[in-house]
């Protein structure tokens, strides 16, 4: 009977933490995840980890890509038609034709800007969602690790949380904003040659890229170094604690030692399953905007090549700038997602459980 109550008490810790991980997943805007996973309930991954509908997920990914290719083709067609009209007046440098020429540029810039704003805001939301999910989930993993006896690995959560939060702040408050500003400058610079802003836009874009790369490298170094060191320490501590409990505590020592081992195993199962669910959720959060952006990049790069043939460099370079900025956005989202996945993987593997 005593054995039963000790088991029951110790089991409550990982169970309550798994409920917290459910809540962390609920707090994140999972609309993009729903688009990719369809009517798939995330709790199913934890409840029935073997029943994963990979083929349905692939179908959804392909469908989203095709749908976005169609949507992007519409704006590309509008740009191409404007480019055809633009080519008629592009030879004139004075009079009312120059105004018409400017109006064509403004129309193309407007089309590029609208599609960029829609997709980039989606990407910004995805980066923020990843950060919210990670800051909600990592403390839960810390408790699960501690419950499993990996006390040193649980200490990993603090540097992951702090450096991850700093890296995501740098990305979303400096990197993303610098990219938005650089795109706005390149659009204004693209409308008229009287505003030579392209170099400034390019400088801002490059700085944003380097800043994000630097912060992600530092983040990965911190969590990687911590992860390697803590695993072996935990194995030694666990053996020591088990020996001390079984030999040092009279009567209850043996039971407590067995119970602790069983709890460590069960919390490892919950931690690993929740970690796998977390990785899938992060993939879904970042995959949706990445697919959308990839579709727009493909279509805009193609139409840039076509428009350059029809109407010269101006419209082509505007489309190329849009595609290039979106490529950096993809890089940022991938960096954010990969660093979150690395953190989760280190936490899953942590403690040697």
């Amino acid at each position: 009977m005593r054995r039963f109550f000790i088991f029951l008490f110790l089991f409550c810790i990982p169970l309550s933490v798994s409920a917290d991980i459910y809540d962390a997943a609920d707090g994140v805007d999972t609309q993009s995840a729903t688009e990719i996973f369809g009517d798939f309930d995330f709790r199913d991954i934890i409840d029935n980890p073997k029943e994963q509908k990979i083929s349905t997920i692939w179908e959804n990914v392909v469908n989203i890509f095709i749908k976005d290719i169609k949507t992007a083709s519409k704006s590309a067609l509008a740009v191409f038609l404007t480019a055809v009209l633009y080519s008629i007046v592009s030879g004139f440098e004075e009079g009312a034709e120059k105004t018409a020429f400017l109006i064509c540029s403004v129309t193309v810039a407007g089309i590029c800007c609208t599609s960029f704003a829609q997709i980039a805001q989606l990407a910004e939301g995805a980066i923020k969602n990843t950060s919210i999910f990670m800051s909600a989930a990592i403390p839960c993993f810390g408790v699960l690790l501690a419950a499993g006896g990996a006390v040193n690995s649980a200490g990993l959560c603090a540097p992951i949380l702090v450096s991850g939060t700093i890296a995501s702040y740098i990305m979303s408050y400096i990197g993303v904003r610098a990219l938005f500003l650089s795109f706005a400058l390149s659009v204004v610079g693209g409308i008229s040659e009287r505003f030579p802003l392209k170099s400034l836009a390019s400088l801002l874009r490059k700085s944003a890229m380097w800043l994000v790369c630097g912060s992600q490298t530092i983040f990965c170094t911190i969590i990687g170094a911590g992860g390697f060191a803590s695993g072996s320490l935990d194995a030694a501590v666990q053996k020591g604690v088990k020996f001390a409990a079984s030999s040092g505590i009279p009567v209850l020592g043996g039971i407590l030692s067995d119970a602790a081992e069983a709890i460590a195993g069960s919390s490892a199962i919950i931690k690993n399953t929740a970690g796998a669910a977390g990785i899938l959720l992060i993939l879904a959060i970042i995959l949706y905007p990445i697919i959308k952006m990839a579709a727009v990049i493909v279509i805009y790069s193609l139409s840039a090549a076509l428009c350059e043939v029809v109407s010269g460099k101006k419209i082509g370079s505007l489309l190329n700038e849009t595609a290039d900025t979106l490529k950096i956005f993809i890089g940022m989202m991938a960096a954010s997602g990969v660093s979150s996945i690395i953190s989760l993987s280190i936490l899953i593997k942590a403690g040697g459980l």
Binding site: L81, L85, G95, G110
Partner: protein, 126 residues
């Protein structure tokens, strides 16, 4: 072949204008004006066909804004044409005023597009 007709009209009008210039400059201008109008009447339907086909492509793809671009281009051509006629008559100042008027009309037509671009750029800037 409309292009041959246009060339023939232009050449004949030029010869007549050169000949008439010696006797009466006003008649010479009238000849070039009439020739210009005939050339416009022959060539403008081609632009109209081109604009119509672009418009139908835009409509089939449910694109908005193309009508405005076509209208802007049409106005720009007409204004340029009027300006050139004024310059032929030796009225460069009037041609400049006509072009200025055309620019104002074009800008007022394009105002919604410029405004929406401005709003989008402002919404993008953090």
């Amino acid at each position: 072949m409309d292009i041959l007709r246009i060339i023939a009209i232009a050449l004949a009008a030029s010869v007549m204008a050169i000949y008439l210039k010696e006797y009466n400059k006003s008649f010479a201008f009238l000849v070039s004006l009439i020739a210009g109008c005939i050339i416009a009447a022959i060539s403008f339907p081609y632009f109209s066909d081109f604009a119509q086909s672009l418009k139908s492509v835009a409509e089939s793809a449910k694109l908005s804004g193309m009508e405005l671009v076509i209208k802007v281009l049409g106005i720009a051509f007409i204004v340029k044409y009027g300006g050139e006629l004024c310059r032929d008559a030796g009225e460069s100042a009037l041609a400049a005023k006509l072009e200025m008027g055309g620019k104002i009309i074009l800008l007022s037509l394009a105002l919604p597009v410029i405004k929406s671009l401005f709003e989008t750029v402002v919404s993008i800037i953090p």
